[in-house]
Symmetry: C2
Subunit: 218 residues, 2 copies
C-alpha cells in the first residue's frame, strides 16, 4: 500500500519506519518538501522511503496517517489539500496537548468535541479512524514489547476503514481480540481525554519504562 505519514516527530518516525519494514511504500510529509528530518529519514530508510510536502505525500498515497500535533492537524491537512484527501482513510493518532499550559499539559479540545471529529467535520469525505493515540510511539508499532495482554482502541464512522486500520494494527502485532472498536468517531473524545491520566501514570513510571493498559473483565 502507498501510505503518507504526515509529521516528522517521534510518532511519525516510528510509524513510517514500521510501514516500510512491513513492505509498504511510504512518504513522510511535512510543511516543506525539503524538511531535513523527512529528507534524512528517506535517505536512511531504504527504497520504499520517501519525503515530501504534506500535499505531495497525500496526493500519491492510498492511506494517510495524521502524526502531526493535534494543535496543528487541521492546518497540516489543509496544506495537504482536500482533493488529495477525499475518499481516503485517515488514521488519526494525534493528541491536542496545549504547548502553552506547562507540564503536564492540558488539552486544547475535549469533552464535547475532539480533534478527530474536528478533522471529520472539516473534511467530510475523508474516512477518519482514531487509534493509537493512547500509547507511546514505541508501543504503537511493537505491542509485544510489553509483557502480558494489553489493549488498543479504535473509533470511526466508516466500518470498512476500521477494518483496514485493524489489519494494519494486526500487522504491527496487536492481537485481534485486543483491538477494541469503541464505535463511532465521537468515541475519540474518550480516547483523547485519556491523555491527562496517561501523563500522570507516565510521571510515576520508572524512567523510560513503556506501559499501556489492559482491560480486565469478569
Amino acid at each position: 500500500m502507498k501510505i503518507a505519514v504526515l509529521g516528522t516527530g517521534m510518532v511519525g518516525h516510528a510509524l513510517a519506519g514500521k510501514f516500510v519494514a512491513l513492505g509498504h511504500e511510504v512518504m513522510m510529509g511535512s510543511r516543506e518538501s525539503g524538511n531535513p528530518k523527512g529528507v534524512e529519514w528517506a535517505r536512511t530508510s531504504g527504497p520504499l522511503a520517501h519525503a515530501g510536502s504534506f500535499a505531495e505525500a497525500a496526493a500519491r498515497s492510498e492511506l494517510l496517517v495524521n502524526a502531526t500535533p493535534g494543535t496543528v492537524s487541521l492546518a497540516a491537512l489543509a496544506e495537504a489539500g482536500e482533493a488529495n484527501l477525499n475518499g481516503k482513510i485517515l488514521l488519526d493518532v494525534s493528541n491536542a496537548l496545549d504547548p502553552t499550559s506547562g507540564f503536564p499539559p492540558s488539552l486544547t479540545v475535549c469533552n464535547t468535541d475532539s480533534i478527530a471529529e474536528s478533522i471529520q467535520r472539516t473534511f467530510p469525505e475523508v474516512r477518519v479512524v482514531k487509534s493509537l493515540n493512547t500509547v507511546s510511539a514505541p508501543v504503537m508499532v511493537d505491542p509485544g514489547m510489553l509483557p502480558g495482554p494489553h489493549d488498543i482502541f479504535m473509533a470511526g464512522n466508516d466500518e470498512t476503514a476500521k477494518t483496514t486500520v485493524s489489519g494494519l494494527l494486526q500487522a504491527f502485532g496487536w492481537a485481534p481480540d485486543h483491538i477494541r472498536d469503541l464505535g463511532g468517531l465521537d468515541a475519540a473524545r474518550g480516547l483523547e481525554m485519556w491523555l491527562p491520566l496517561w501523563l500522570r501514570i507516565f510521571m510515576q513510571q520508572p524512567h523510560g519504562k513503556m506501559f499501556n493498559i489492559g482491560i480486565v473483565s469478569e
Copy 2:
C-alpha cells in the same frame, strides 16, 4: 472508625455496606435526615449503620466519603457544614457527569479543573483524596471479583490522608502495589477525565460484566 458516607445512590450503598462489614460505624448522609433510602439502609444493615442529614453524618464522623454526584457535591458539602468538615479526610469518589448531555454524558468540569480540586478550593481545611471514581461500585469494594491484576489510583495533597485512604483500599482488597499514587490533587483531572473512555468501554462490554484496567509495564 466513624465514617460518613454522603450520598444514597449505588456508590453510597456499596461503600457504606462495605465499611459496616469491616466493622466501622457508618452514617449514610443525605439532604433530609428522614431520606427513605438512608433510613431503609440503616434499618437493614445492623447496629453499626445509621442514617442522617449531611450535617449530622459529617459532625459525628472522623472520615467522610463524597459519594454524591459531582454536579451537586459542592452543594452537599456546604449543607454538611464547613465546621463539620475541617481537618477531616474527605475521600472523593464522585464524577461530574452532565445529566443534561444525553448518553454517554459529557463532564461538567474537566481539563484545567476537577470536582476534587473545586472541593479543595472551597474547603481548604479539608484533606481531600480522590480515588475509586474510575471503577463501578461493585469493583470499588470487591476488586477480587475481577480476574488478574488491575489498578486503582489516588491523588491528594495530604500524604497522611493518602496513607489512611490506602489503608481503607487495602481493607477493601486492593493490593498495595496496585494502589497507584499519582501525586497532588491536580491529578484528579486525569482520574475524572477517564470517565468518557470508561463509558465507551462499558458500552462495548457484554451486559453487566464488570471491568477495570490494569497497567502493563515493561
